[in-house]
Assembly symmetry: C2
Homo-oligomer: 389 residues x 2
């Protein structure tokens, strides 16, 4: 049954080759002080920086920059950005990059005028902003997080080794606009591309593997997964395939903009495990998810058998005839494992820098979610992490 | 390939039992003059009118009414409403009803301050509004049209026998908010329920049966269709099944809020045929679509064979093994026909009041679309209408 919920997602998306040409029209809606936010500098090498700065200049904007936003944006970096945005009296925060840069920019939006420490308010007490927030726009250059059309913002506190995401309730925290040009993603290394693909897949799975109801949201999830499987296999063999990359980009947006969670419960334990690995290793986000997923799903399978059977049939095309439910469900996970190997995803956290003596500490950093088929005990978390080694 | 497009849909949806309680919060955002728009009075019998009027009163609103909006809202009724809204100096137009009432209210929104005749500007020249427009809110009581989350508005000119829909480009024409309570739909007669279900199905089909690309939008469409088939069969046997009715309501919204058309071409010829039948008979919209669909799809099947094969497999679960593409495609349409008969849909336009001597006139009212697998000639339209008799 679809429960009671509200849905609103006002982000304006400009999709396709050359979509950045829409930027000028959007910039005209805001004041002249823009803070440009980006990461490690790849946008300078591939020309996107010059393109965006050129448009900002033509629009007569007064631009300050926050450069060097890292793959797991830190609280210290947030403090640094708050100072820059305040001094610049920013009218608009413009993120140019992947999910990390978009996440960081949304965290900045609610923090610049925050009356107290944003970590305490937003990431420990999970409160909504009560201060003036700044509008955010995104030019997306990497695919996976869905951050371009949601109100989520993950920040890592390197002092306490906690990587925490907050999905704000207020839709005004969502980007006002996002530019999605699949061409911008074509220069990404294979490792980053497939990590992003798995991040997308995991977003869908973690909303799908929860609840017993036969509702529309799960059918939409199956559609997104089926599309992603086809596109990812094409892109894996031919990274320059624009058609496949455009479908991957679009799937990513809809995998995590709240649609497929509407009216249903969700899990998110794989993200909690992966984020704990990320906080201890600074590994690529999507790979941390890939490395813990199969041990996690095999662990919870007996508690959510019916959904795993449905997953096997509707997503992986497993034929049910003459098989037990358990066999059908396991066949689905085997098909998923084969696909993960085909893409070259990391299947062991040891490859990401986790050693056996770190397991207890990673378990300490793993938040326990309550929406999945089994609420994990501390022992189960340790056991799943050991299985993932 | 997903083409270049923009997407923005800012309508705030309140979904689920008791969702009308969110109305007060939304009403607070607008001035005190509200025009309440509704249809034939069923909302007075089932208590929804009293509930909404009670909330308007508690919120201190000054309410004028436009009652008697008909299933196919007429241009004359639009003129009448324009006068009422102008005299009342409306700050908000609140539609309480099904798709016809929502459509009418959006048409009103762009017409009240229109500098010239709205029929000429919006329905003959398909222009965008250049005047002040009025915000629209919806409380949905019937399911099918998706009008609660899009910028479309169909109006019928009874003088020229033309029923024309205009989907406005500006997202500010979309309802600002819509209340979707599946309970409100439980009092609907079976005939209206299944007509709405087919309207939803047709919306998805008419976007799906266009283009050759393997894109995410079509996978989302398949997910929606699969969900609808399951829910419609449950609701057909048990009209009071809240779970099924809630999934149908949610599917309807996403079937026609532009999502599944993103980046692809669309057809809409079934709607053109059905609307022509509607303009000549005033028959229930969904039934006009049902009655022309199978002859239309069987006619275009050879031109879009690949998509019809995919439809048969992915939506109807037809096994392809050992069959020709033509046989698989036809088996899909047979499964669709069986489902339509199971629901009790009207399969012949003669049952809706069309007689053989009216065929030429109905053909005259049928607009020809260019996005489908075959652009119809006048002869083909006549032939499909005769097949539909």
């Amino acid at each position: 049954m679809l429960g009671t919920f509200s849905y609103c997602n006002p982000t304006k998306l400009y999709f396709g080759e050359g979509a950045v040409r829409s930027l000028a029209g959007e910039l005209a809606k805001y004041g002249k002080n823009v803070v440009l936010v980006y990461g490690g500098g790849s946008i300078k090498r591939n020309g996107i920086y010059d393109e965006v700065v050129g448009i900002l200049r033509e629009c007569g904007k007064n631009v300050a920059e926050i450069a060097g936003v890292m793959p797991n944006p830190t609280l210290d970096k947030l403090y640094e950005g708050m100072k820059i945005a305040r001094e610049h009296n920013a009218d608009l925060l413009l993120a140019v990059g992947g999910g990390s840069v978009c996440d960081y920019t949304k965290a900045l939006s609610v923090s610049v005028y925050c009356e107290e420490d944003p970590w305490e308010k937003y990431y420990l007490r999970f409160e909504e902003p009560t201060c003036r927030t700044l509008p955010v726009g995104c030019v997306l250059t990497m695919v996976g997080t869905g951050s371009e059309m949601n109100a989520g913002a993950v920040i890592t506190n390197t002092h306490t080794k906690l990587k925490i995401g907050h999905v704000f309730e207020d839709e005004s925290i969502m980007p006002r606009f996002s530019v999605l040009d699949p061409k911008y993603t074509l220069t990404l290394p294979h490792y980053q591309m497939v990590a992003g693909i798995y991040d997308i897949f995991s977003h869908i799975c973690e909303q799908y593997f929860s609840g017993e109801d036969d509702n529309t949201s799960d059918y939409l999830s199956e559609g997104l997964m089926r599309s992603l499987l086809v596109s990812s296999r094409i892109a894996n063999k031919d990274m320059q395939n624009y058609e496949a990359r455009s479908n991957i980009m679009w799937t990513a947006t809809w995998a995590l903009n709240t649609l497929v969670a509407c009216g249903k419960s969700t899990d998110w334990e794989v993200h909690m495990l992966g984020q704990a690995v990320g906080a201890h290793t600074d590994a690529t986000h999507g790979m941390t998810l890939a490395a813990v997923s199969l041990p996690y799903y095999r662990h919870i399978l007996p508690y959510g058998l019916k959904k795993f059977v449905r997953f096997a049939q509707n997503v992986w095309g497993v034929d049910r005839a003459g098989k037990t439910d358990e066999a059908v469900a396991e066949e689905g996970l085997q098909a998923m494992e084969a696909w993960m190997k085909e893409l070259g995803l990391v299947l062991h956290i040891s490859e990401l820098g986790v050693t056996e003596d770190m397991i207890e500490a990673v378990a300490d950093s793993t938040l326990v979610m309550e929406g999945g088929y089994k609420v994990l005990t501390r022992e189960e978390i340790v056991s799943i992490l050991k299985e993932s080694l």
